[in-house]
Subunit: 244 residues, 2 copies
DNA sequence: TTAAAGCGTGCGTAATGCGTACAAAATCTG
DNA sequence: CAGATTTTGTACGCATTACGCACGCTTTAA
């Protein structure tokens, strides 16, 4: 069913990066002929998923129905929400769960907020996995070959001066996470932001998500995080795994 | 290009309501033959947008790439963000923008949060338009016939005891909003939540979004909101309209 | 000013997706 | 509990759909 595949790729192409694209731009980006791109774009416009001025094409709000469905329908956020809220209340910090999608983590739920929340942590937001505690904790349960493939496919870039960018070091770090059972990102995403994360497994033991607590760097040091936040996360993790 | 159309409908069907659906269930819900539903579902599974155990089908995280693209790529949230932040800072309340999508409003951006935020206001979240200030302010710029059609198509239900549910009254209220140029929702969405909203127009004068300030009912009365918050919103509105 | 490269579009053809018809479950009923 | 009946999932031949080539036009470079 090629039409569906290409159409979805077109939507992804329009959603990634440049907001408005020309017909040929879309064709080039996903490697199809211009004629095909044209047919798909015109169809998407007709269906209301895209808009056009005849020259450029861009996404219409209707595509929100496609993605948001997952977040609404997914069972994990619902059953994890009370656990997140409790952790948030007990630690007075922000607790979140996220999943791995391509090279990014995607936030699915947060604890009810107390105090100011870091800017880029809202539901549906994507952050490169390689530099986040949640990302590493999910990667740690892959075998080394897969991890290397993942790192190879990732666009590794410095988000802060502290971001680890050597693929060698990252593999080493993820191996360490695998042994520890948790991961910490110390200002690697944003200066002033520290996170600690644990994996969430389904009943068959497969890692399906990660849960984290994030805080301003000034509030707690790394060793305190392990001592005070990790037990909370572990308790929450056990509870969620039981519910899944 | 029927395959694409039906495939997208299948995704929407899987995303709406029941998280897991059977093949025939999908077919029934969108009015296609079971054979067609089967082909589309199998393709979606193969492409990684859906998952299945052979009997039931559900969405895979990959669909997040489709919807989130719009929010990331849309220009409005980006250029409105500083305005929202300024309003948030000056009023010490939460400022948001949203668009109208089908029968709902969808939040696209918020001011940086100070204090506690109402639970169901995160980016991408949908709320029925008929009972929100932002929804009504966007509806007000349609003609009466369209508004009646909209109300007819909406599932009007009481979210709180204060929710206005008579289609007559709602039309009347929206007419009033049209005259006033702003709209207030007084605990119609959630007890304890008041909002005031103004429309955002593009350079051709078409209403493309709405901007609001929301607050806990205890903090400010309706007349104070008009007196103190509306001027801020108006100033922000002018600024955004200039930038569009 | 001309050449060249890039872009969007119409058209005949081959493959794709269509619905019908059948088999297998699941559900109802006496 | 067995037969009847509805409901569900699957295979196949045909018609439609989507494919890419080729053409004409626009924009960029020489």
């Amino acid at each position: 069913m090629g039409a569906l595949e290409k159409g979805l790729l077109v939507i992804e192409a329009l959603g990634a990066g440049t907001p408005k694209l020309t017909l040929s731009g879309v064709a080039r980006r996903i490697g199809i002929t211009r004629a095909a791109a044209r047919r798909h774009l015109l169809t998407l416009v007709e269906l209301g998923y895209a808009e056009s001025n005849g020259k450029l094409f861009w996404l219409a709000p209707r595509v929100l129905r496609l993605g948001s469905g997952y977040i609404i329908a997914a069972p994990l956020p619902k059953l994890a929400q009370p656990v997140l809220d409790r952790i948030g209340e007990r630690t007075r910090e922000t607790a979140s769960i996220a999943i791995l999608e391509a090279n990014d983590i995607v936030f699915l739920a947060h604890s009810l907020r107390r105090g100011i929340l870091a800017a880029n942590t809202q539901i549906g937001v994507r952050v490169p996995a390689f530099c986040t505690a949640m990302g590493r904790v999910m990667l740690a349960h892959l075998d080394d070959v897969k991890i290397e493939e993942f790192l190879e496919a990732s666009e590794i870039r410095k988000l802060t001066v502290k971001t680890m960018t050597s693929r060698q070091d990252l593999l080493q770090e993820i191996r360490k996470v695998r042994a520890d059972g948790y991961s910490i990102s110390d200002e690697e995403i944003e200066i002033g932001l520290r996170s600690i994360a644990v994996p969430i497994t389904n009943s068959r033991g497969q890692v399906v998500a990660a849960m984290s607590v994030s805080l301003q760097a000034g509030r707690m040091g790394v060793s305190d995080m392990i001592e005070r936040l990790l037990p909370e996360l572990e308790a929450g993790r056990r509870e969620i795994v039981r519910l899944i």
